[in-house]
Amino acid sequence: MNMQRIRNFCIIAHIDHGKSTLADRLLQFTNTVSDREMQDQLLDNMDLERERGITIKSHAIQMKYNYKGEEYVLNLIDTPGHVDFSYEVSRSIAACEGALLIVDASQGIEAQTISNLYLAIGHDLEIIPVLNKIDLPGADPDVVADEVIDLIGCKREDIILASGKEGIGIEDILNAVVERIPAPKGDPEAPLQAMIFDSVFNSFRGVEVIFRIFNGTINKGDRIKFVNTGREYEADEIGILGINQIPQQTMSAGNVGYLISGIKVAKEVKVGDTITHVKNPCAAAIKGFENVKPMVFAGIYPVDTTEFEELRASMEKLQLNDASLVWEPETSAALGFGFRCGFLGMLHMEIIQERLEREFDMTVITTVPSVQFRAIMTNDEVKLINAPSDMPDPTRFKHIEEPFVKATIITAAEYVGPVIQLCMEKRGQIKNQIYLTSDRVELTFHMPLAEIVFDFFDKLKTISRGYASLDYELMGFQQSHMVRLDVMLNGEVVDALSAIVHRDKAYEWGKRLCEKLKELVPRQMFEIAIQAAIGTKIIARETVKALRKNVLAKCYGGDISRKRKLLEKQKKGKKRMRQVGNVEVPQEAFMAVLKLD
């Protein structure tokens, strides 16, 4: 394939602005899928994506498009819009020369429109602005076009009006892709240099590597090498990504495809690595990706403690499919063996948990999420704190630093007041306020990450009646007065319930956590004292009263076995509970913190 006839582009936007729906139309228009195969948001092929109606993973697919009598190969990558998955976007961008920037014509520019746009510009991608959903009665293309022009400095006529739903503007978009996005550069004759930008684990075929060739040519059966890991393989199968995989004998510079080389161990593949030939390797690896930075850390434990190894294997497979998931083993007195995992955000954490349950049949407990703090030790050493248990003794550090973010909130003018108030409650400081239009305002805050990752967005949506979007990026660490809050049940610390909180919020947190636990811990034979403490100082207490009466009156002849079985069954049910000292703690209790409102 002549490189001049290849176009690699991704579709980027704020969440729900219609990327996947637009992709459907492009696939249909180019006859990449037949009408029979077509379904809404075809590329969202994970159960979870379909159920939640959002894209979680980027998805690459190849289309053929006839433009002015010439056949072009268009490699499209649909990306997620949710802030948690911006890593997916940045990887997709690295494989492309252009991007469709979709803006919902009824919503206008939102926080992730801006952040994703900047990602694309940072990679010198050609941007094609598209106003989508113009079919909506609430669409206001003129005003939104002004916003777009302001944002990217394009000309009004560069903006394509479209509706993924009604199939408007599809041909314009395809033509613009061919006309405006540059063909890939690269030398098919040079040593092979292909970048792995995604990978998928398939139980039957092992690891499927998704790559973009920058230089050189790869043939089926070639001896290849992954530059960073140094491992060598045979290219058992290469091919392009249609609606199904289409095997090829040879693929060369500029193209996007998949590789299967009998890799069974998930960990062997590093997304961002470079593929080259064993003989005649390339001189240098392509600049890979910055290691993904997890925003939130939490423990994941198997409910059934004997399933630890199974959980490990499942996480390894999941990690292959989701390069942003990082973890290391961890032990908890209350929960046994598990993993401390890093997530991109709360949605990501929720999704990982759900995928473990669905795709791997694991039942897991997730513990109190936390961001990463740093302790500046008395000897000036910096100690990272990913879990409450990492918090050193207060006598051993000078101070604690916590991660801050620059948060961008776009909202309607009438909600500016409540938004500022909310941010202040969350220890935020307003840094900037810009009117995008007379009615739409972009607010910039500096805020602790810990305050933003949990329920901030839900609250923001509530106070703005849904008219607010949020984006944030890490800006660095700042000194904060953080303390470790422990929870004790009948005097025994439940490590899995500890949390690192700001001193000013510790009392409130402790109180609400104790109250919540009181609801969740069932009455037992003994009274249970639930206490929250900072060091040795108790700051909150609740009591679960002992059961008053649990005795069946009758116990003769046949009742005896019946009753034994009943009690045994109840006891089995309780096995899913965790034993802390003499107290039985139900699984939900470990998630209680998430439900504090």
Binding site: Q524, M525, F526, A546, L547, R548, K549, N550, V551, L552, A553, K554, C555, Y556, G557, G558, I560, S561, K563, R564, L567, E568, Q570, K571, N582
Partner: protein, 407 residues
């Protein structure tokens, strides 16, 4: 409950235990006993809370008694040849509905096929069946103990339960039974019905105590699935008592009866010295027994058998000489756990050495933390390597037993 009260309660327990033991050592060779239970599956009408096996159509009474006699014959070797029958218990259903000539047949069948040395023959009877004539004939048959289904003396509550008698009748029935010379009398009372406030229950206890029965069994109302009450509860027309309400009445029950000189020798059973029920006590001591009649259970020391709970099929099966029961062999742990469950409920307590011997592991060593906690919370007492529930522990007998179960 404050600590001093606890201690007082605990003290009381100990003296009761001693009382029980003294009493026991006076006469009964408990573990040599075995008994026969006969289930009579007919009632006049269905009480709204009852999930026992019975039919309100007694046209099959004669056929049923023949079948029962047949089963007595067929299963004469169930308990082994060296067993001596010491107790017979007619339960139901309503055994007092059985015509005396038919009861006689059953008694004769027992004598014909079993070696007996009867020390207690109990008949469960409803107040409306306690005619002078019946009483006289039962006595003649060798029945020496009556367990009378009083439940309550309150007319409203009786009506709610759909009982076939009035409170007035109950009172007269007790008096007639005493006059007829039934020294061993037990009455049943129900508590924990939410509409029956503490005053009504106290009145029930007062009336009962005035009659001075030797034995009282009292059960908390439990709502069972396939009953009228269960149905009402499902439809939201009825709500069971709260845990606290039931606990308060249980407390009232124990206070009153202990005050009147009764010994709570099992959670729901109170007797004056010399009046403990022998037959029922055997259940709690894992003594073998033979259960005859539809839905009756049997235990031979290892296996539990359950007869089919269907009158027509039971009769048919017996006519064809078929075995009417399913057998379930108890695993070692099952037997230990059943012993834990029942023994803890009694005044004789749980024999720790016996549990260790039965299970082959040191019971205390395996549960030491839990036992310490139960002890420090004043839920159990330990004496001569026997474990007993305290007054406080009795309220949580099921939780405590379950926590002590072995794997």
């Amino acid at each position: 409950m404050d600590t001093s009260n606890n201690q007082a309660a605990a003290q009381k327990e100990i003296s009761f235990q001693n009382g029980g033991r003294v009493y026991l050592s006076l006469g009964l060779k408990v573990n040599k006993l075995s008994g026969i239970y006969i289930h009579i599956p007919f009632c006049k009408r269905a009480c709204h809370y009852c999930d026992f096996h019975f039919s309100t159509n007694s046209s099959q009474m004669e056929a049923m008694v023949s079948a029962i006699c047949k089963e007595l014959e067929l299963r004469k070797d169930f308990l082994g040849s060296d067993q001596i029958i010491k107790t017979v218990y007619f339960g139901g259903g309503t055994p007092s509905l059985v015509p005396t000539d038919l009861l006689k047949k059953i008694m004769e069948q027992i004598s014909a096929y079993y070696e007996t040395d009867l020390e207690e023959v109990t008949l469960e009877a409803n107040p409306d069946d306690l005619s002078d004539k019946n009483l006289e004939q039962w006595k003649a048959l060798g029945i020496d103990r009556l367990s009378i289904g009083i439940q309550t003396f309150d007319e409203n509550v009786l009506r709610f339960y759909n009982r076939a008698h009035t409170g007035e009748e109950s009172l007269l029935a007790i008096q007639r039974a005493k006059a007829a010379g039934f020294g061993k009398l037990s009455i049943d009372l129900i508590y924990g019905f939410p509409a029956m406030d503490h005053g009504i229950f106290l009145a029930d206890l007062d009336i009962a105590l005035e009659q001075d029965p030797g034995h009282i069994s009292s059960y908390c109302l439990t709502v069972e699935p396939k009953t009228v009450l269960g149905n009402w509860e499902m439809k939201g027309k009825f709500q069971s008592a709260t845990e606290d309400f039931a606990a308060e009445q249980f407390e009232i029950l124990m206070d009153r009866l202990e005050g009147a000189g009764y010994i709570q020798y099992e959670i729901s059973n109170f007797g004056k010295p010399g009046n403990f029920a022998l037959h029922n006590t055997n259940y709690w001591k894992s003594v073998p027994y033979l259960g005859i009649g539809p839905s009756a259970h049997s235990y031979d020391g290892k296996n539990r058998g359950a007869n089919i709970a269907n009158n027509a099929r039971y009769i048919k099966g017996m006519e064809n000489g078929l075995s009417p029961y399913n057998v379930e062999t108890l695993a070692g742990a099952d037997r230990v756990n059943e012993y834990i469950l029942t023994s803890l409920r009694t005044i004789w307590g749980l024999d720790i050495d016996r549990v260790s011997a039965l299970s082959g592991v040191d019971f205390v060593a395996g549960k030491v933390k839990l036992l310490e906690k139960l002890y420090s919370e004043k839920l159990v007492l330990l004496k001569d390597n026997y474990l007993f529930l305290t007054r406080k522990g009795k309220f949580l007998a099921d939780s405590i037993a379950a926590s002590l179960f072995i794997e």
